[in-house]
Each structure stands twice: as C-alpha cells, then as structure tokens.
C-alpha cells in the first residue's frame, strides 16, 4: 500500500493531483472512433476514460415504445467491471440506472427530437476507467457523439462539477476529493446559459452554493471550447492538407 497524503489540499492551495483550486483536469477528446455507431466520442479527463456511442435515428424496437410526435431518446450509462479498483458487477446498479436517467434528461433539451417522429436515438456511455465525475465526462462525450451522428442540436451540452473539499471550493473534483467532500455536478448549454442538470451530494451554505455554481459554469465554458475544437479538428485537418498541396 502506498502512503496516502493526510490532506487533499496543501497549504499552498495545491490539490492532490497538483492542480490549482479552479483548474480542470486535462481533457483529451477523440471523435468518430466506433465504426458501427452513427456517431461516437472518446474522452479522457484526468484518469477518467469514457466511450460514448450514438445509434439513430432508427426504427424503435420494441415497436410499442415509439412516440407519434417525437423521437424516443434512450440512454445507458454503464461502468465496466474493470473501471474501478474492486471489480464492479456488470449488471446495471441502482446508481447507474439513476445516472442514465439524469443524462438522458440533461441531453434531451438539446435535441430536436420533434423532427424525427416514430424513431429512437440510443446513447450508450461506457466508463472504461473511473476517477470521479464520470457523469460529467459522460455527458461531454455523449453530446459530442450526438453532434458527430449528425443529429440536429440546439447547442452542445457541456458539464462540469464544483464542490467543497476541506473548506475550499474546488472545480472538477477527482475520485478522492469526490469521496471526501461535497460534489455538485452541473450540465449547461452555454449559448443559452441554460442549466440542464444540477445535482448535489453533501452540504453547502447558500453563499457557497452560489459561488460553486458560478465556478462550475466557468468550468463548463472551458469544456465547451474544447468540445468545439474537437468537433472542428477533423475537418480543419483535411482542409489544411488540401490547401497545402
């Protein structure tokens, strides 16, 4: 066993993984990596490694679930057995069912489902490695996968958590911080400043809540820029290659 540090934040306000209080974990995004899916994305955020795939719009099976006026949005968030230190049983847990629901509800306002009645749009989020804040990383990847599938979106959905660890307000909590402190994930459509997900686990005062919310919104905006860059990267590369010739 390695010796764990006694505190998560040292006297210089530096966190366990060397970040400042209001710093995001490094994010790496790749798009279009699953050939069989209509759209897909892979994200690495710190130690989080998550795949998202989108299938659809397609015919709904079982048929009776089809909606006559809009597309049916289905979402499955799943953690691989090897994604955490102790093997996770692969059957969907209570927690995963809940996260699937909140992710579905946070993405649905961004999708023009009414354009495609009697169809389904299926989102699969597979957590390959988890280190806190996987629902946020999952939302980021899923929103990009939707855009990659060519599904019309009002806006991309960015997500980020803020919270309180050892009396400090911090941005983008990792695993150890998440376990010890208060965690508040939010999802945002930055163009409209519309919050589509807000959850909290722990205790914050009203003032702290407001500060944490503002911090998380700033985090979301940084994430949003990265999402846009990732979406554009593929096409810009082709354009540059061609124009160099």
């Amino acid at each position: 066993m390695t010796k764990k540090p006694l505190t998560l934040i040292n006297k210089k306000n530096i966190r366990v993984d060397g970040r400042k209080l209001d710093e995001l974990r490094p994010i790496k995004i790749e798009l279009n990596i699953i050939g069989n899916a209509n759209g897909s994305a892979y994200i690495e955020q710190g130690k989080n490694k998550i795949l998202a795939a989108v299938y659809g719009p397609k015919e709904v099976h079982p048929r009776h679930l089809a909606l006559p006026d809009r597309a049916l949005l289905r979402c499955q968030y799943h953690m691989s057995p090897f994604s955490v230190k102790e093997r996770k049983r692969p059957a969907p847990s209570r927690r995963e069912t809940e996260i699937s629901k909140v992710i579905r509800e946070c993405l649905s306002p961004s999708i023009f489902g009414e354009y495609y009645p009697r169809t389904s749009i299926d989102i699969y989020i597979e957590v390959l490695e988890a280190d806190g804040g996987t629902r946020c990383s999952g939302i980021i990847a899923a929103s990009l996968a939707l855009a990659d599938a060519g599904i019309p979106l009002r806006d991309l959905v960015a997500a980020c958590a803020a919270g309180k660890v050892e009396e400090h307000l911090v941005l983008d909590l990792n695993g150890p911080e998440d376990n010890k402190g208060t965690d508040m994930p939010i999802a945002l459509m930055p163009t409209f400043n519309a919050v589509t997900l807000l959850q909290m686990n722990g205790i914050l005062t009203t003032d702290e809540f407001e500060q944490a919310l503002n911090l998380a919104v700033k985090g979301c905006e940084q994430v949003y820029t990265l999402q846009k860059e990732a979406l554009k990267a593929r096409y810009i590369n082709v354009k540059e290659e061609v124009e160099e010739e």
């Binding site: 023009f112 495609y116 979106l153 124009e243």
Partner: protein
C-alpha cells in the same frame, strides 16, 4: 443585422450565425430573431436565407427523391427496402406487376429477393407514414450491374456540382454512367472495372473534401493523372 460568420466558415451546433431579419435554412434554427447552427457544417448564404451545409448528417426521405434501396424483407404483397433512412421503405407488388397482386399466382421472392438493390423513387412519405416507393418510371428497377458507393447524403449536391458541372465532368472523364441518388448512394456503371474504380475514387475524394475550395479542378486533375497511368 450583423452576421457573425463568413461564407463557408466552419460552425458547430449552437453557434450564433446571424442576428436580425434572416430566414433559417437547412441545419439552422431561429429563436428571437437569432439564427443558430444545429450541425457541424459550413455557413452558406442565399440572400436572406442562411443555410449550414452539414458535414455529417443522415438521409431524411422526401417525396420525389431518387433512392437506391436494398430489399431486406419480402412480405405477402410487398417488399421492405432499406433506403438508409430512419424507416424502412415499402414497395408494393401491385406497383411492380402490371395488374393487381394475386397471392395464388404471384411468387414475390422470384421477382425480387432479399439483397437485391433497387433504383426507385419515393411517391409518398410524411411524419406519420413510412416511405412508399415506385419503380414504374423509365430507368427504375432492379440494379443488375455496376457498383454502388455510399457517401454522406448532404454532400450529394457537391457531387452533382452547380448545374451538374461535377457529375458531367465525371461522366465525361471516366466514360461511366453515373446515377446520383438523394439518399447518399451513387450507382456507377462503366465499360471496365478500372473506369468504375476511378469514378469511385473521385466520388470518395469529393465526400472527404466537400468543404474545400477548387474541388472540381482537383478532381479533374486526379482523374486525368490516373487516366494517363492506365
């Protein structure tokens, strides 16, 4: 009435393209007089109308579209075809036969069977109805030769080019017969396999580089170079 992006500039979903008295075209939407993009694509103005030419999208059927479909199912009085749209399309037996369909006399699998490719036209389709196809027009029917390439359906206009410049050039340079379908499939029938391959290569190149300038010249150049090699 400002516009925030130049012609052919790359946008992502949620980007504010323009503010003011404009009309929202393809892959855009309007809210409070502001026009936003809904897909990754290139901004394109047509007067007051703002479009985004999506770089990735799927096919949505429309009445009158020419499509290539694969038979996936033979029913009692009809076939189901996969036309790369969210729903399967139907082709009725009575449309194919010149008389009404009789279950005693007619054996549908012997006419068209699963895996057959059909060139057909959409005659009916809306929000409540799956697409209905017809082959009762000259040139339509089962595809018996040639090759089919799949590309992104939104890039079909680029393959055709303005007033058909691109597709006419392809036909002339490769000597192939090319049928461009709205659902993103292109049928190529050439005299030799080499010619067909050349046309396929060119169409793939158009698909990949649809958002770049001077594409027609580059594709012409490529074909002429290859032609000399052969």
């Amino acid at each position: 009435m400002p516009i925030f992006y130049e012609q052919r500039e790359l946008v992502t979903p949620g980007d504010l393209i323009a503010d003011g008295d404009y009309m929202a075209g393809d892959s855009t939407y309007k809210e409070d007089d502001k026009i936003y993009a809904t897909r990754v694509g290139l901004v394109n103005y047509e007067g007051r109308r703002l479009n985004v030419v999506a770089l990735k999208a799927f096919y949505v059927p429309n009445v009158g579209d020419l499509v290539i479909g694969e038979v996936v199912n033979v029913n009692l009085g009809s076939w189901n075809l996969d036309i790369k749209a969210p729903h399967l399309a139907t082709l009725r037996a009575s449309d194919v036969l010149d008389r009404s369909f009789s279950p005693q006399r007619d054996d549908l699998p012997s006419i068209f069977d699963v895996e057959d490719l059909m060139l057909s036209k959409i005659v009916a389709c809306d929000r409540t109805r799956d697409p209905l196809l017809t082959i009762r027009e000259p040139g339509l029917g089962k595809i018996s030769g040639g090759q089919v390439v799949e590309i992104t359906p939104t890039k079909i206009p680029r393959v055709i080019g303005s007033k058909g410049s691109m597709v006419n050039m392809l036909k002339k340079e490769t000597g192939c017969q090319i049928t461009v379908c709205q659902n993103g499939l292109v049928l190529i029938i050439g005299k030799t396999i080499e010619k067909e391959r050349l046309a396929i290569m060119a169409i793939r190149k158009i698909d990949q580089e649809a958002h770049t300038k001077g594409l027609t010249e580059r594709v012409t150049e490529m074909i002429q170079k290859e032609n000399q090699g052969v």
